[in-house]
């Protein structure tokens, strides 16, 4: 049984949505799944990362790349799946120019991983367990190119034979939002494990969704397979469109046809794929060029003992060790590089208790700056030691928040050390009594009328004077010093 919750963003409340996903993830590995050619083919000139096997030359034989197997084992262990000590590599047959052998080596009846789970957020706070049916390994296809010439199509085989993991969930997802959260968390996990880079734009992560709707309590509805969605935004729109389309069909007395549809981003609609694009029999059978994939249980143990920390383990550690809120910890671990940066910054702090302050600065100022400049974190050049210096300065009250933000802005642009910035631009906070007193005198002399009003009982003007003094000091004055000296000076002016 699948667990189902009422519709959230799409459709009407009278229907529930049931979604299962097939995620294709390119395996991080030096070479392809069965050949020695490079698997880092994205962006290379067409047909430059191609071996004789990759184009199915006569007599060429596949030899399994153990690194790809180990990567699948890593992911399998991380989702608490069962690693099959014996699995089978099968041939899946269909004709298409980018499928060089006429078959894809995949796994059909005996996949390498079975029965795992992944926790996702359903709504704001409720965790939900999504069951993962299986993970199997298979070859990627090449790419047909129809835009090079009006009359001729070309094929680029660079991608042909690159290792993929197909991660198949049970139909446990109930909304487009859950789908997006599932994919984000799965991608995050795979990045932590180093098994898939997960860049959808580069085709490293591709999603097919099986979608159906039903009235609560009814049997599962007829499912439609949505294929070839290569961005989360398109996926979300496609699901919304498809759910509403299916509900519309049923509400208008029609019925949903089991079919494969594809999403057209231009129209925002899904459309049926031509039947020729969908084979109904793949003639699966075990690849006679390969022996069964036998995995030693000791080998699985070795991989388990060297498994990198999962995002949820890091999340728990951040909450426990650094006292972060669940929410902040979740945001920090979402990007492995950010979480790593956070811990590096903290390691440079003299006082571990400032970790929370660090989290605030990363999630606040840093993220805002990244957003503002449309920069990805990996392209930002802030050194963790510099970030730590800035946090220290704030914590030690060497810098006001205002000044610190200014220093950060410069740091973000130039990558310079905050103390150098403070020095060069004279941004050090001034607590020196004489300097502060000087700024106070200037302000009080200028604001004669307001001073008189204050002395006659308008207490609220005190904050105004503080602000004016801060402004006069160009933000450098220590706010505490202003408070104390200003109160003193105003008292002296009372008759």
């Amino acid at each position: 049984m699948s667990s189902v919750s009422p519709m959230s963003s799409a459709g009407s409340a009278a229907f529930e949505t049931v979604i299962g996903l097939e995620v294709h993830a390119q395996i991080v590995s030096q070479s392809k799944l069965f050949s020695g050619s490079s698997s880092q083919a994205f962006g290379q000139d067409p047909n430059t990362c191609v071996s004789f096997l990759d184009v199915a030359m006569p007599g060429m034989l596949p030899t399994l790349n153990q690194e790809c197997v180990d990567q699948a084992i890593r992911l399998g262990l991380a989702i608490s799946g069962t690693i099959s000590l014996v699995s089978v590599l099968d041939r899946k047959h269909y004709f298409y120019p980018d499928n060089p052998a006429g078959y894809q080596i995949s796994q059909y009846q005996k996949p390498i991983v079975q029965d795992g789970t992944l926790q996702i957020l359903s709504g704001e706070k409720a965790w939900k367990t999504i069951r993962i049916q299986r993970i199997h390994i298979e070859q990627d296809a090449g790419k047909s190119m129809h835009d090079q010439d009006p009359l001729t199509s070309y094929v680029d085989f660079n991608r042909a034979g690159v290792g993929l993991m197909e991660i198949v969930s049970h139909p446990d997802l109930s909304s487009p939002e859950e789908v997006i959260d599932y994919i984000k968390r799965l991608r995050c996990l795979m990045r932590y494990l180093g098994v898939c880079h997960g860049d959808m734009e580069k085709g490293q992560l591709r999603v097919d969704a099986n979608v159906s709707v039903r009235r609560p309590g009814e049997d599962l509805g007829t499912r439609v397979e949505l294929k070839n969605m290569n961005s989360l935004r398109f996926l979300h729109s496609a699901l919304n469109y498809e759910i509403n389309r299916q509900i519309g069909e049923i509400e208008h007395g029609g019925r949903v046809i089991q079919e494969t549809r594809t999403y057209d981003p231009a129209s925002g609609k899904t459309r049926p794929m031509r039947t020729k694009e969908v084979a109904d029999d793949y003639f699966y059978f075990p690849d006679p060029d390969l022996t069964p994939l036998v995995i030693d249980s000791d080998h699985v143990q070795t991989i388990a003992s060297t498994l990198p920390e999962t995002p949820w383990a890091k999340h728990a550690r951040f909450v426990q060790v650094y006292g972060l809120s669940e929410y902040d910890a979740d945001l920090l671990v979402e990007d492995m590089d950010v979480s790593y940066f956070f811990e590096q910054v903290v390691s440079f702090l003299s006082e571990p208790a400032w970790a929370k302050l660090t989290a605030n600065w990363i999630l606040g100022e840093l993220f805002a700056a990244l957003n503002r400049t449309n920069t990805s974190f990996s392209d930002a050049h802030i050194h963790p030691e510099n970030m730590a210096a800035l946090i220290q300065a704030v914590a030690n009250k060497k810098l006001s928040n205002l000044l610190a933000k200014e220093v950060f802005g410069i740091m973000f642009e130039t990558g310079e050390h905050p103390e150098k910035i403070m020095e060069q631009r004279g941004l050090v906070q001034v607590s020196n009594q004489e300097d502060v007193q000087q700024w106070i005198c200037t302000v009080l002399n200028r604001e004669n009328d307001n001073v008189a009003a204050y002395l006659s009982g308008k207490d609220k003007l005190f904050a105004f004077f503080v602000g004016q003094v801060m402004k006069e000091s160009k933000g450098k004055a220590n706010p505490q010093a202003i408070q104390a000296l200003l109160a003193e000076s105003l008292e002296k002016l009372r008759p």
Partner: protein, 484 residues
């Protein structure tokens, strides 16, 4: 005709070493013989220039003391082995223009051992058949009687040995494709253990059964060739990582007390010609005379080997041949309208009738709803046949059946009934399905003067037994000289 052609491998090696003649002279003699025997159509491609270059290299190596074990030996290679920069067609229009940029592992081994490549020999298209009658390159004729088939699928290699246009030759044996043409052409042919010789670079027919194998005029020559062919290859996941012995090591050793198994079901199943039954009987007597004991054994499931073989082989073939689609290399039909038309026209025109028949059969047995009834059941039967062989080899050292149920038949007869043609393999396919090894040795002549072969079967990796027992047949049989 040059007297060099009559020399055995041993004699040739001595002659080359002692500089009685050069590799170049030897190669030229064979190239001349190829021209003289063109009418048999044993070769698809003759690599004259390459052969003479190879021979020159060999002469240099004989001079500077770096000669390999087959240095300067002229060899014919079935046109299913990919040979770098040399046309490799598998006798199919589909590969009529295919020139591989790589060399098969086995032919690479031969080149390293010093062999001289004479050319690429004819075969049934993609090794599918037992008559060497491909549409694209035409039939190979039996040098003993040109109205008869040379057998197949490696008929070109067998004929090249028989007509003196090669000293050694390579074939591939999936269901008898080395042993049956060897029997029909009066030469020695070996189906080694599966995985003994790498399949890397051999155009695939049925991957789980394809076995590279040697042809030679004598048992010892075949063993010497297999010495060079065999060996682990990490590029082939089904290659056996097992030490390769000197396959000649048991030749000449006594057979006293050895047990020869006679599979009783094969009497009933094979519908053998009376003269084949007679040959079989004589073979048993021959081993008895040499001190062996004849044991009648049972391999009950081997009766199902033929249907089992045709299901598995066709399934794998249909899959292996999906790659020939006109996209990447080889034949592409002209005047095509769209993608589907390209596939249909290319494969419709590029493949001959037997290949199409087997693709259809294979596709059928793998299709949804029929998989369990055919492919899956055949796999189970295969395991039972393998079990039968394991049981039997606890009782006997080798099995002795004939190689074929009949002598070479008329070429004209080979076009009529495909199923009748498949029956021709009934004595050879159990070896491939049963995962054992076998040899075919010339053992007599038919009433009409055609050669007949006896087969010896040994457990996997026990090829040295084949040569030991085969040598006894050879040395106790008076065969006429090969017809050249």
């Amino acid at each position: 005709m040059s007297p060099l052609l009559k020399l055995s491998l041993d004699q040739v090696l001595i002659g080359l070493q002692s500089k009685a003649f050069s590799a170049t002279e030897l190669t030229q003699s064979y190239l001349d013989q190829i021209q003289r025997t063109r009418g048999h159509n044993a070769y698809i491609t003759v690599t004259t220039e390459r052969a003479l270059q190879d021979a020159k290299r060999s002469d240099a190596r004989w001079s500077n003391g770096t000669a390999g074990p087959l240095e300067g030996i002229p060899i014919a290679v079935k046109d299913a082995y990919c040979t770098q920069n040399i046309l490799t067609t598998a006798a199919s229009k589909m590969l009529h223009n295919f020139i591989p940029p790589y060399e098969s592992h086995v032919t690479q081994n031969l080149a390293q051992a010093g062999a001289v490549l004479l050319g690429k020999t004819n075969l049934d298209e993609f090794c599918m058949g037992s008559t060497t009658t491909p549409v694209h390159t035409g039939p190979t004729l039996n040098p003993w009687d040109v109205s008869c088939t040379a057998g197949g699928s490696s008929g070109g290699s067998a004929a090249a040995i028989a007509n003196g246009s090669a000293l050694l030759a390579l074939g591939t044996d999936t269901g008898g494709s080395v042993r049956q043409p060897a029997a029909f052409c009066g030469v020695v042919g070996v189906k080694p253990s599966y995985g003994r010789c790498s399949r890397w670079g051999v155009v695939a027919f049925a991957s789980s059964l394809d076995t590279p194998g040697p042809f030679a005029r004598s048992v010892k020559d075949a063993a010497l060739l297999l010495n060079v062919m065999a060996g682990y290859d990490k590029k082939d996941a089904t290659s056996l990582n097992h030490p390769v012995p000197d396959f000649t090591r048991r030749i000449g050793q006594s057979l006293v007390g050895k047990k020869i198994g006679i599979p009783k079901e094969w009497f009933e199943n094979a519908q053998m010609d009376p003269e084949i039954l007679d040959l079989w009987k004589k073979g048993q007597e021959l081993f008895e005379k040499n001190g062996c004991e004849i044991v009648h054994v049972s391999l009950p499931y081997s009766s199902y080997a033929l249907p089992c073989y045709y299901i598995l082989a066709c399934a794998e073939a249909a899959s292996n041949l999906q790659r020939y689609d006109g996209v990447k290399y080889g034949f592409r039909a002209k005047n095509i309208e769209n993608l589907e038309d390209m596939y249909c026209q290319t494969r419709g025109q590029g493949f001959g009738p037997e290949v199409k028949r087997r693709i259809l059969l294979g596709t059928y047995v793998l299709s949804h709803g029929y998989y369990d009834a055919y492919y899956n059941k055949a796999q189970k039967v295969r395991h039972m046949i393998q079990h039968d062989f394991r049981q039997v080899f606890q009782q006997v050292d080798v099995l002795l059946p004939p190689t074929t149920p009949t002598p070479a038949f008329a070429l004209k007869a080979s076009v009529s009934d495909p199923v009748a043609m498949y029956w021709n393999d009934v004595l050879t396919v159990p070896v491939n399905v049963g995962n054992v090894c076998a040899i075919s040795v010339p053992a007599g002549l038919s009433n009409t003067g055609l050669p007949l072969g006896l087969q010896l079967i040994a457990p996997s990796l026990a090829e040295d037994r084949l040569f030991q027992f085969g040598h006894i047949i050879e040395s106790n049989t008076s065969m006429p000289d090969l017809p050249f």
